[in-house]
Symmetry: C2
Subunit: 478 residues, 2 copies
């Protein structure tokens, strides 16, 4: 009965996907709305997920020779103004600090929307010789972008992210770094978040403000919309020239270094929810789940049940992130819902009869299958299941991506397809901005990327019929 009530409580994804999403992030207690429009509070369960993401990525960054540091959150207006494209891209969406204490500031400061400008200022001071290169720095920080329409994780006025900023002696090295970090993101999303992505390059129109090239990892959500999950930018010498970063090269000449920047944010959590969630709530991939196993006692008032649960919790905690739900004021059914909503990959149920039979029931969140197994086999079984759930979640996401991808040979077909469904349209493109603008204006779709692996299925542009240059993934997006 409680089960029914609970499902009633969560909007069905097929009825209203946006409402389903909001229901989940709030009811699973990942976030709450802050009392400031467009800002979110990340609650412990959501933050634990972010910490797991941070741990994996931070270890990977460090393995590749990056060092963490911290730059000020507030940036003087004059610095933001130094790189022309950059300021045009960001100025409309920054928050301005105009007063410190009771005094008006001589120069207003913006809350960093990204940190290229302040970091370049310092790089210019620190760099002297080619011998010191590369600088490979990263910071985990909060940023503010004043957004008009916001949604928890996906688009908020303040969010948490990491931003890597590197400078190199040669363009080749900088490009290698850009592509390496692009791959780090793709691998992380695939191997930990169980999110398959399209790896590709942004068109000029969609590039980061100030970048020469932007690479993106694009994921496909349950509702057929694309989500940009991370970007890596090759900045060339745009910023190093604007900020006068110089070094003495091997030949004694003064040169400007080549630069990259790359970042992923709490937005990825939104992507995780919309990739794996269902009408019961979240599904967490085991490798990144804040809680991997929850133990729910049955008839816990009976002698020996809670003791057994505690022994089990202690044993399993050596290998997994485990929680035992021993609340006495709610029923096991309520607890089942509670943890299914939160997407815990595995649930163990154990009651007096199970204990007597030296067994327990295992429920897996991804397939909703239940199985009775001997406690002696539990250790081995869990290991297999963790792997299996992780792989199965990736497989299901891959299937969604595949089913949501279609070809559009001409613009009529393109419009017809998007009228019927959402997803990735594979199209051919002449390279002309006019065609790119047209799909946005007439169909509110955008070019997500030119994939690394182009599937050149025809010679002519899907939009205008002229000779095609590139294959494009187009979609509606978050």
């Amino acid at each position: 009965m409680e089960n029914k009530e609970f499902v009633k409580d969560l909007t069905k994804m097929e009825d209203d996907f946006a409402k389903w999403y909001t229901d989940i992030v709030l009811k699973a207690e990942l976030v709450d709305y802050a009392p400031i429009k467009g800002f979110m509070v990340i609650r412990p369960y959501g933050y634990a997920l972010w910490e797991n993401i941070q741990n994996v990525l931070d270890t990977e960054f460090k393995k590749l020779g990056h060092k963490n540091c911290y730059f000020p959150a507030l940036i003087p207006e004059s610095l933001l103004n130094k790189e022309k494209e950059h300021v045009e891209g960001f100025a409309p969406e920054v928050a301005w600090v105009t007063h410190g204490g009771d005094k008006e500031l001589e120069e207003k400061l913006c809350f960093r929307p990204t940190s290229e400008t302040i970091i370049c200022t310092m790089y210019a001071r620190w760099l002297h010789s080619y011998r010191e290169l590369p600088f490979k720095y990263n910071q985990w920080a909060n940023v503010v972008r004043w957004e008009k329409t916001t949604r928890p994780f996906l688009r908020t006025s303040e969010f948490l992210w990491q931003e890597g900023h590197t400078i190199h002696e040669t363009p080749e090295e900088a490009m290698e770094e850009t592509l390496q970090m692009h791959k780090v993101y793709a691998d992380f999303l695939r191997n930990y978040m169980a999110m398959p992505v399209i790896m590709g390059e942004k068109s000029e129109k969609e590039r980061f403000a100030g970048a020469e090239r932007t690479y993106t990892v694009e994921a496909m959500m349950h509702d057929g919309k694309a989500l940009q999950a991370g970007t890596s930018h090759y900045l060339g010498q745009h910023f190093s020239k604007a900020f006068d970063i110089t070094f003495q090269g091997r030949d004694g000449k003064i040169e400007n270094p080549y630069q990259t920047s790359w970042g992923v944010s709490t937005r990825m959590i939104g992507g995780l929810i919309m990739t794996h969630g269902d009408n019961r709530g979240l599904k967490m991939p085991p490798r990144i789940a804040p809680i991997q196993v929850v133990i729910v006692p049955i008839a816990q008032q009976k002698e020996g049940v809670l003791e057994k649960v505690e022994t089990l919790r202690e044993t399993l905690s050596k290998k997994y992130r485990v929680e035992a739900d021993t609340r006495s004021e709610v029923t096991p059914g309520f607890k089942f819902n509670h943890w299914e909503l939160r997407g815990v990959p595995l649930r163990i149920e154990i009651g007096p009869k199970d204990i007597e039979a030296n067994q327990c029931i295992i429920f897996r969140r991804d397939t909703l299958e239940k199985e009775t197994i001997s406690l002696d086999a539990l250790d081995e079984k869990l290991e297999v299941l963790m792997e299996d759930i992780q792989n199965n979640m990736l497989k299901m996401a891959e299937e969604n991506l595949e089913q949501r991808t279609f070809y559009a040979h001409d613009f009529e077909e393109y419009k017809k397809l998007f009228a019927e469904r959402e997803g990735f349209a594979k199209i051919m493109w002449c390279g002309d901005r006019v065609c790119e603008d047209k799909v946005k204006e007439e169909n509110s779709t955008t070019f997500r990327c030119i994939p690394f692996e182009e599937d050149r299925f025809q010679d002519v542009c899907t939009i205008c019929g002229k000779k095609a240059k590139h294959m494009i993934y187009a979609a509606r997006q978050y």
Copy 2:
């Protein structure tokens, strides 16, 4: 020769302590000044130290049942205004965001100087029943306090910290939490930072704005000034009443919970420097050092030297944080200075003759002693030395604390003592604010704390001669 030049480069602490401090933080590349007055950039070496501090404390917090989360950096003015004492304490030193994008905001937002107000707003929304208590949340975050006089780490307009915020059913539990976290800080400073501290309570005058009781850990610097290294506040029901946080108690009645907050910041790094540094630079306690062992090759151009160094680095890296300095453009002497300045606890020197003799030279930064030892004994020796250096650094800091502590029986003696030296004056106090104000106005010293272990050496107040209530540690402070 390079050695001399280097020492010349660093101001001596006995000549100008403040300049010595600034020299160290800049030259050891812990921080740099940002292009915004009062702000600092934390460079990789400084940030690695902060990460080590975070790791130890975060693990300890979680062991005690605290969960991390994240609250917005910007707080509406109306929230800050809710608790009277709190706003009076903080309003003069906050930075105000008045514009978002190109629009003026309806209500200005302050960059959090601390987060009680925003967290209490959310706690009021989340709490319903005594069953949900306690809430034990913590966040690692940046805060801004608009300071007039700033110094890297010690006092900057933006700094990094953790702030714990808990609410409890009873005053006893809240007080227990306050004292527990106070002890966590003291133990951490002693066992990891090798900084002995005085544990005590702040006088009413020195309390946190809005707290009922404030506990502090006070450390003694090399120059005899005190440093407040961390505080824990018992907030009683001040905030829970102002923010209308309520719950249904065991007896069905609606009640306000009892609250605590506690924090330490990057300021601790300033304390570490001024506790352990000398005229060669920093000294890092091994347990918290970003680099524990540096290997410097001698005659590295000779065959086999760099290979041996790499083997050594690889082996030692399994147990320690190790760096091998194989730069070819600088001499070993230059490298010695470089790493001594940065305070690396142990240096290993190894050259062709050492390799032939199956030995190396070990230099310890704390005592400046050199020793030749067999490579076969290295593993065992390092383990002993790490412990020994950690203990010796604590011992030296304890000796400084002891030598810098003196008794003052009356106000004349008090003034005379502070005219001759800096340090902790143990005084007796009547409990009257007038006496506390007097030592500040007439002697620019402040009451640091009423220690837990009061050494009641006389019955009368050092300042006024009336009956004494408490023993006080007084000092000039950072």
